[in-house]
């Protein structure tokens, strides 16, 4: 259970060369309340797809035990699609070097 103490969605960024990588990451949670604070149970068997600005598939990763995922994209606009049992979510994001996009996705 993720509770009000957690503020970041995606995995720990220690060791990631943020200056040279455009990171898009986050966590997929189920059964939480959308109150701006990550909460709910991590979905460890979701699939997260990254589409480029033309809607073309670029990459896909499964979530980890914490419901987290990470992409190393390029600067620009991308769409994150979450697929899980009984759920599908799409989120448009803007990636840039230096500052990771960190999402909390409630399904």
């Amino acid at each position: 259970m993720r509770t009000c103490g957690a503020t970041s969605g995606g995995p720990d960024l220690a060791g990631v060369d943020l200056a040279n990588q455009s990171v898009i990451q986050g966590a997929v949670l189920r059964g939480g309340v959308s109150d701006g604070v990550p909460n709910g149970l991590p979905v460890d068997n979701a699939y997260v797809r990254l589409l480029d600005s033309n809607g073309e598939f670029t990459a896909e990763v499964p979530t980890n035990l914490e419901g987290q995922f990470r992409f190393f994209a390029a600067p620009g606009s991308w769409t994150v699609v979450v697929l899980a049992f009984g759920a599908r979510e799409e989120i448009k994001v803007q990636a840039e070097k230096g500052t990771p996009v960190d999402l909390v996705i409630q399904i």
Binding site: D17, N20, Q21, D44, N45, Y47, R49, L50, D52, N54, E56, F57, T58, A59, E60, V61, P62, N64, L65, R70, F71, F72, A73, A74, V81, L83, A84, F85, G86
Partner: protein
């Protein structure tokens, strides 16, 4: 080969879970997935530890392949059914591997691990022990494998299909977007290659598109089915997926997987490279 002999549905799997002649093998890029849960009775191959030579960059030897299959209780007459995460990338690579070493009956679960999970079908953590067998592989069938010199001499002559994402093809990215971007290789693609991302052959749930849609996809991109076709990507796994589509589903014979792929080609001195869409 054809869709009927190379591909099985999740329903077929459910009906054959206790079929003794069937061995389910999970092959993932993320090798922790098997431990999280797998199809009951399935074994797993680690794409690096089990399927790469480790010293030189090559497939494992015939003797090592025989030892791997024997240890896991796979016999020459077993029906091997592969599946995995990442839309079956590594499972199709393993499929190609089984074909290289001449296994008679190897199949793939349409949709792989993703469809299985999206359908909420059962996964277990128990690993069942299998009785070792004595597997005898055939000599490598290199008719489904392309090497760098063949690729270079095929530029502008054969169909060369680059199955990476458009961003990798154009030279914007050096690796798929779920991996750190590497600096070692030149970015771009093999001149005259057509960019037909592997993902276009798959539906969102990981299943393959229909044969009619697949044939149209390649034809529309300029692939002449009367010619030989070489598929490549970055390290040969995604192109194994597209090789599977062309060679197994569309039943085209002259299709090879260039498993050296961009990590080899993009490191070669003096070869031509193209950039842009």
């Amino acid at each position: 080969m054809s869709r009927a002999t190379s591909l099985v549905s999740t329903d077929w799997v459910l009906e054959n879970l206790t079929n003794k002649s069937v061995v389910f093998v999970e092959v993932d890029e993320d090798t922790t997935l098997y431990e999280k849960g797998h199809i009951d009775g399935a074994i797993t191959f680690h794409w690096r530890e089990d399927l790469q030579d480790g010293l030189i960059r090559d497939l494992i030897s015939k003797e090592k392949f025989e030892a791997l299959l024997s240890k896991n209780g796979i016999s020459n007459d077993s029906t091997v059914v592969l599946y995995g995460g990442n839309n079956n990338w590594f499972a199709t690579y393993a499929f190609w591997y089984f074909k290289i070493y001449g296994h008679a009956d190897v199949r793939l679960i349409d949709g792989g691990r993703k469809l299985w999970e999206l359908k909420g079908l059962p996964l277990v953590t128990e690993v069942r022990t299998r009785i070792p067998s004595r597997y005898i592989a055939k000599e490598r069938d290199n008719s489904i494998r392309a090497f760098r010199d063949q690729v270079i001499s095929s530029i502008g002559i054969k169909n060369i299909v680059d199955v990476r994402s458009p961003a990798e093809f154009s030279g914007e990215l050096a690796a798929p977007a779920h991996l750190p971007q590497e600096g070692g290789q030149i970015k771009g693609h093999i001149p005259s290659a057509k960019n037909i991302p592997w993902s276009k052959a798959a539906n969102e749930d990981g299943t393959f598109r229909s044969n009619e849609e697949l044939a149209e996809l390649y034809k529309a991109a300029g692939v002449d089915f009367a010619k030989e076709t070489i598929a490549y990507c970055r390290i040969g796994e995604r192109s194994a997926f597209s090789w599977f589509v062309l060679h197994e589903l569309l039943d085209l014979q002259n299709v090879t997987n260039y498993d050296g792929s961009w990590t080899e080609y993009g490191s070669l001195v003096g070869v031509p490279v193209a950039v842009g869409a």
